[in-house]
């Protein structure tokens, strides 16, 4: 019988010809990603008397949650991380290159068909490149760093066939918020997702990453797109390996296939305090916005900054609203600067911060106060996520964030932008 993408990867990782959903395997992990958790992992292993990793070359460390260090304690932890990376012989301690998931993809650490585990729930992002990638906690990461493997359940796969023709103002973020609203945030719990269909095939890698990134908000373990010609193009110059297309077998078995027709879909906004509280933007207009945030591993890429700059060009951020823009990586910031986008955003009154996770997990650089409302291009709006539990976080696309920053209230982006980042019709 044919296999899904998850089954193919876990079969290979466990040294078998065939595995099936529901089976438990011990899987060899191709790559491990640690962010600010790295010193905790390394110290826990040292305490056990373990002074080397199973394969240090497979490990990538990127500091993003607390960059730049907001406190002396954090600065010390980061210094310790650098020292431990050297002690453990890591060649891939990338320091402050950007948000881990963006950096992993753009610097060629993600290959289609591989298994990658990271100490961050949004590790699902690499599914956009056809990798099986999932978040784990530090204890499990300790085990993986020491042994190179971990027990895993082979997940069932839920397929979303994305069809139809996008209307103006639509971005891939709107599709995933719509899916969260329509099917619920448990729709893929313990399962893998495959995004397929003409709309998926037509998406840029940046748009795909947004969907895979938010796969975890749908409960998913992995969130795949097929690795196709676009993936191969994206990886050219980033990896040395020869990349071939990778997808499911034609006769793979799915738990369910959901048809999602995006024709007529309005830009979406998720209301506090759950990504599944999605509504059409026209239903929530007029909610005042104290802070508009454009950034994160979900929507801080060049494509996102381009859309925001188009909308803000020649316009001004509303005097009662602050717009923070945090590019997803240093490379994104550099590219945005070269393209003149940073100038445009600055002229509109946006504040550009250094790359990193910024206020998304509530750490620093733009956390919100009680009673404030934040419209954010990020992935989750749990109570207290971005600061005070009394703050309200709404989620939307970069276009909706930019349009809302102009008006100081949640605003339909179609008022300012009639294009779409998705391809029209059959791709």
């Amino acid at each position: 019988m044919g296999m899904t993408m998850a089954e193919k990867i876990l079969a290979k990782a466990s040294g078998r010809d065939q595995v099936q959903a529901g089976q438990y395997v011990t899987a060899r992990v191709d790559r491990m990603m640690c962010h600010d958790t790295f010193p905790m992992c390394a110290i826990a292993l040292k305490r056990l008397g373990i002074n080397k990793f199973h394969d240090p070359d497979r490990v990538v460390v990127i500091v993003d949650h607390y960059f730049p260090a907001p406190t002396e304690a954090m600065a010390r932890a980061q210094k310790l991380g650098r020292e431990l990376a050297e002690e453990f012989g890591l060649k891939n301690h990338l320091g402050f290159a950007g948000i881990c998931h963006q950096v992993m993809c753009e610097q060629g650490f993600v290959l289609p068909g591989t298994l990658i585990l990271g100490t961050d729930s949004h590790t699902t992002t690499y599914g956009a490149l056809g990798a099986a990638s999932a978040g784990i906690g530090v204890t499990e990461m300790n085990y993986v760093l020491a042994t190179g493997e971990l027990w895993m359940r082979v997940p069932e796969t839920v397929r979303f066939d994305l069809q139809g023709s996008p209307g103006p103002g639509l971005m891939s973020k709107d599709i995933v918020l719509h899916i969260a609203g329509r099917f619920g945030t448990e729709v893929a719990q313990y399962k893998a997702i495959e995004f397929s269909g003409p709309v998926a095939a037509g998406m840029s890698l940046a748009s795909r990453m947004t969907l895979s990134n938010m796969g975890v908000e749908l409960g998913a373990k992995f969130a795949f797109f097929e690795a196709d010609e676009k993936t191969i193009d994206y990886l050219k110059g980033r990896v040395n390996e020869e990349i071939r297309p990778f997808g499911p077998d034609e006769d793979a078995a799915y738990e369910v296939i959901h048809q999602v027709d995006i024709t007529g879909l309005e830009p979406q906004v998720s209301l506090p305090h759950n990504p599944g509280n999605a509504k059409a933007v026209s239903e929530v207009e007029d909610v005042p916005v104290d802070q508009a945030f454009l950034g994160s591993c979900t929507n801080g890429r060049l494509e996102d900054l381009e859309v925001a700059a188009k909308i803000l060009k020649g316009r001004k951020v509303h005097p009662k609203t602050r717009l923070l823009v945090t590019p997803a990586s240093h490379r994104v910031l550099l590219a945005a600067d070269k393209a003149g986008l940073i100038q445009t955003l600055l002229e509109a009154g946006a504040h550009i911060t250094p790359t990193g996770c910024g206020p998304c997990p509530g750490g620093h650089m733009g956390v919100v106060a009680g009673g404030e409302i934040c419209l954010s291009s990020t992935n989750r709006n749990f109570k207290g996520r971005m600061g005070s539990p009394e703050a309200e976080v709404y989620l939307g696309s970069p276009a909706t964030v930019a349009a809302s920053a102009i008006e100081g209230r949640i605003t339909d982006p179609r008022k300012y932008w009639q294009e779409t980042t998705l391809s029209r019709g059959d791709a």
Partner: protein, 168 residues
């Protein structure tokens, strides 16, 4: 076969209780006395009412969200004996097993318990009983591997044994 039986008084929670309310970002790394007060802050007063050995019965998607292990670790440190939920966020669930904090999925559990009922959980057989109302439910069984991790007191102990390291 070993029998691991956990009994305790039930506190009930609803659906989609996320990791960020179990372990808010700005509390990570704080000393216990400062961290304790904000655990499950969506339910004010809970941390002062809960007693060691009590058990949480929850709805769908308990622990959805972040990979932060502090979420189950905080609950364990609070003294909770177990969490039995309709379903779990998968990373939270794996983290709970890895730190030997018994969490079990059990469809139907939310309706089968009132707050204050006495719950009995047997890990090896995945049996969930309401001792107050005399109801028995079947949870989703652990694998041998998961039972071993819990019985050894966590994945770090399994690792220690596997690598034959004795250093502390």
């Amino acid at each position: 076969m070993n029998r691991t039986v956990i009994r305790g008084k039930v506190w009930k929670f609803g659906d989609n209780v996320d990791t960020d309310v179990m372990a808010p970002w700005n509390s990570l790394g704080l000393p216990w006395e400062e961290r304790r007060g904000v655990i499950l802050h969506s339910r004010p007063g809970f941390v002062d009412q809960v007693q060691p050995g009590d058990i949480i019965v929850a709805g769908e998607n308990w622990g959805c969200g972040s990979s932060r292990e502090n979420a189950p670790a905080n609950l364990k440190e609070l003294g909770l004996g177990a969490v039995v939920a309709e379903s779990f966020g998968r990373i939270y669930f794996r983290n709970a097993i890895a730190i030997a904090f018994p969490n079990m999925a059990c469809p139907g559990v939310h309706d089968a318990f009132d707050e204050g009922d006495e719950l009995e959980l047997e890990l090896e057989t995945a049996t969930v009983k309401n001792l107050t109302r005399n109801i028995a439910l079947e949870g989703q069984p652990y694998t041998q591997e998961m039972i071993r991790i819990i019985q050894k007191g966590g994945l770090m102990n399994v690792l220690k044994e596997r690598l034959g390291v004795s250093a502390k």
